[in-house]
Symmetry: C2
Subunit: 115 residues, 2 copies
């Protein structure tokens, strides 16, 4: 189950791109990889992951290809595209700005002093 919930979903596209950037992978594998890399802090259900994958493929940020295995169910392996790589860079920049903003506020860096 894991889940730190509360946040997460909005970050999914970027996380998926980051995972398939380091290695082409199928949906199920991407889900597991996110759990592993986050030490189970992050976890997405199938009802969340597969639609996100579809959207990314439609947007041309990842490309899927079916692999029929001699043993086991067929899988659709996704690889990142050039469009996706550019988008991933954008995600990283947005995340950097966002997370530093949240940090600044949570740690109470004061910028005003007016009562």
């Amino acid at each position: 189950m894991s889940k730190s919930a509360e946040q997460s979903r909005s970050q999914l596209p970027g996380l998926i791109l980051a995972v398939v950037e380091s290695q082409p992978l199928h949906g199920y594998g991407i889900a597991r990889e996110i759990e592993v890399r986050s030490a189970d802090a992050l976890s997405f259900g199938e009802g969340t992951l597969y639609p996100a994958l579809k959207a990314l493929e439609l947007a041309g940020e990842i490309a899927g290809e079916w692999y029929v295995q001699e043993s086991g169910p067929a899988k659709k392996v996704y690889r990142i595209t050039d469009v996706g790589r550019a988008q991933l860079a954008r995600h990283r920049a947005v995340w950097a700005e966002y997370s530093s903003s949240v940090n600044r506020i949570l740690t109470g860096t004061p910028q005003t002093q007016t009562a």
Copy 2:
């Protein structure tokens, strides 16, 4: 316009608590303070902020008190409660874990190597 959108909303309760922890403030002021501290990277509309304030007050995490000014509209000033302080600590912990997880994935720290 600011807004880095995409994320944000889920973090609002924690951000509000952090702001009123450093100084009791009214809704409008809280909104401005978040913008200032985030250098305009974060911005919440009133349709988002006021409901969030209500929910926090209902949960006993902040306490509001009306101040009628001799000049200008009345304002409802919120201060953090003990419950809110405890909750804020929790928000900070969750955020720390979450953001480090996202960082780990976005920067591609590999934990598996299986193809």
